[in-house]
Amino acid sequence: MKMFIRVLALVLLVLFVSHPTAVASQVHAELAHGSQLAGGPVRSFELPPWEDVKDVLMLRNYNTKLVVLSTMILGVASGFVGSFLLLRKRSLMGDALSHACLPGIVLLFIIMASAGGSGKSLGGLLLGASLTGIIGVGVVMLISSTSRVKDDAAMGIVLSVFFGIGIAMMTMVQKTPGQSSAGLIDFIYGKAASMVLQDFVLLSGVAVVIAALCLLLMKEFALLCFDQTFGKCIGLPVYLLDVLLMVLVAAVTVVGMQAVGLILIIAYLVTPAATARFWTDNLRVMLLLSALFGAMSGWLGASLSALLPGMPAGAVIVLMAAVLFILSMLFGTSRGILKRVISHRQLKIKVGRQHMLRAVYELIELRYKTSAKLSLPNKPIHYANLLSHRTWSAASLGNLLRRGKREDHIEKFDGMHVSLTESGFGEAARITRNHRLWEIFLITHADIAPSHVDRDADSVEHVLSPEMVRELESALEAKIDTQVIPPSPHEFFVAGKLEGEKEL
């Protein structure tokens, strides 16, 4: 849920910053320039023709192929690293890191520009980004280890201060005459469309190294995230691994900055991992799914942004990741909401069925039980007795009986009489036995009064597994014969006289 709010906040932020303010209008102008492939005027949302859509999605268009492939590869790398970042509970650290990259970019730009170049060598700028990014993480660790300021506060401070310094420096650079610093702003919001072949090679090279390291060090990273104290005990260099993980996060951030921008890269790191967690409880599967979701967001997001002029790639990629996240939150097979709702409903149905069958059995027992030795005959009972046996409405009892008929537990019910089928009778006997075993167990082992035991047993018996029943049997062995159904340890409240005195 926290993650969801986070993603929403990021989306809102994107919408906010993409409003035509002084800074953003510049971005728009460049975006329009960069994404001419679909034609059409800026900010018109005409749907592109199907042929174009197909070309872009199938990577047939050369211009978009590069962009889409790059973002997909980036998605795979960030999916791997992001999983560990999420499990290490360092998501916010990734955010602090990416924001701390900005001053480095501007600094290196100033240095390179004053050395005589254009100041726009990508390698140099990324070097600067990594430098201050890692310094930022170092400062966070320093603050939280040397003072009593907690991690989250330290990250909040570093994030905003470093970003603030970067913005201030950038404003200064822009005021310097004769300097073209226009490209710098792209690192903040990202500009996938401006990627060239060299960028692609750099990005995929880094991504392959990152993915390989994550897979090679999977068990080491897992131990770091799960139980670093134990890791330290067995001689794992946890501090080094922690630094390495942060370096990998920095690497993803730095190479991904061009495509999605440093503000949004954190969503790319965290969202696919959080999405994957809804589908699995297995770390290996989670890593693969996370990479898959990362690649899918990159593919869909970059394609969509190429098709809709004026749509910044970073924002669309993050939105696609958010869509996958929301779908997974709803439909995830491991911890999705729908799954929880369904299993809750199934439990409710099971409980209803067991109550109904046990009630019928108890009534047969009341009416026909003559001696403890003889087994009970499967005879019909009166509907009116069944209705008054538990506190249930005629409507809900009707539902239970109809379901019972579908499940072949109820032979027939006609408003007067209810009778069980062969399998229904067997099931009713089994359920009643479990209930009684549990009741006796509670009375003998938990000192619960016989008058309260029915209600208490009710809440547990439905989830008794076969092995628990066996355990109960062995616990109670001395007290009851394990083959027969023990008599109820408490009196039944019988509303009025049992109907059907005559044999049915």
Binding site: R148, L216, F226, T229, K232, C233, I234, G235, D281
Partner: protein, 260 residues
């Protein structure tokens, strides 16, 4: 008796002081743990029991003092020491199964960069069967009960195949069946000649479970065989000032005596 700190001791501590934010947590500890004993570390909350154990494994920095495991620093003796951390120290909502956690105890044997192989998982299952939950090997750890989680941690320590085990509150908040399982495991380890040092908080069971005790309250109040050291006088010194605990301690004493 002055500790001799000889190399035959699983653990020898000389003049250990550990401070947190300049405030000493444990102070001037001088202690030898004899081999082959079940040692209980007893003391009130905040007495520094966990700190002592962690300092022994270099998990927290020490202000002064020397610690040796069988005569050498911990760094050189990792393979001889098994560790059971407090159950609450980790987030159990982690995407791994019980056998994956137990296999973590084998990582030194698996080696860097290499994946956990089938023989390691088989070993992990074997360790889980020692603590009676082999059938839960593939269950995700968040779906285990508290007692089962504690057993997983014990199995992981067993997988380390150590000579000297340090356990941090293994009996905290576990069910009666798990408590029995842990006790019989401790006795089994003792029969194999291994040494266990166990942080323990339930005074009533001390005489039943441990044959050696360390009474700790920032400093060592006393340490030695249970029947000599676990006395009313010593307990008053250990728990002194904490009045409600004093009652509890006195009661535990009577309880302990009546057991004999």
């Amino acid at each position: 008796m002055e500790p001799s700190h000889s190399a035959s001791h699983p653990l020898a501590i000389h003049d250990l002081t550990v401070a947190y934010h300049r405030k000493p947590v444990i102070w001037d500890i001088d202690l030898d743990i004899p081999e082959g004993k079940l040692v209980g570390v007893i003391g009130p909350n905040g007495a520094g029991k966990s700190t002592l154990i962690k300092a022994c494994m270099d998990l927290i920095p020490r202000a002064s003092g020397e610690i040796s495991i069988y005569g050498k620093p911990y760094k050189k003796q990792r393979s001889l020491v098994g560790y059971v951390p407090q159950r609450e120290s980790v987030d159990w909502d982690f995407p791994v199964s019980a056998q994956d956690v137990v296999a973590m105890g084998l990582y030194r044997k698996v080696g860097w960069f290499k994946p956990v192989r089938k023989k390691h998982l088989d070993k992990a299952r074997e360790m889980l069967s020692h603590v009676g939950i082999e059938h839960l090997a593939e269950r995700q750890i968040s779906q285990l009960s508290g007692g089962q989680q504690q057993r997983v941690f014990l199995a992981r320590a067993l997988a380390q195949e150590a000579k000297f085990y340090m356990m941090d509150e293994p009996f905290a908040a576990v069910d009666a069946a798990t408590e029995r399982a842990i006790v019989s495991l401790l006795r089994e380890l003792k029969n194999q000649g291994k040494t266990c040092m166990v942080v323990h908080h339930d005074l009533a069971t001390v005489t039943k479970y441990f044959d050696w005790v360390v009474l700790l309250n920032m400093r060592i109040v006393d340490a030695g065989p249970t029947e000599l050291v676990f006395t009313e006088e010593n307990l008053r010194k250990t728990y002194g000032g904490k009045l409600s605990l004093l009652d509890e301690a006195a009661q535990a004493m009577r309880h302990g005596k009546s057991h004999k």
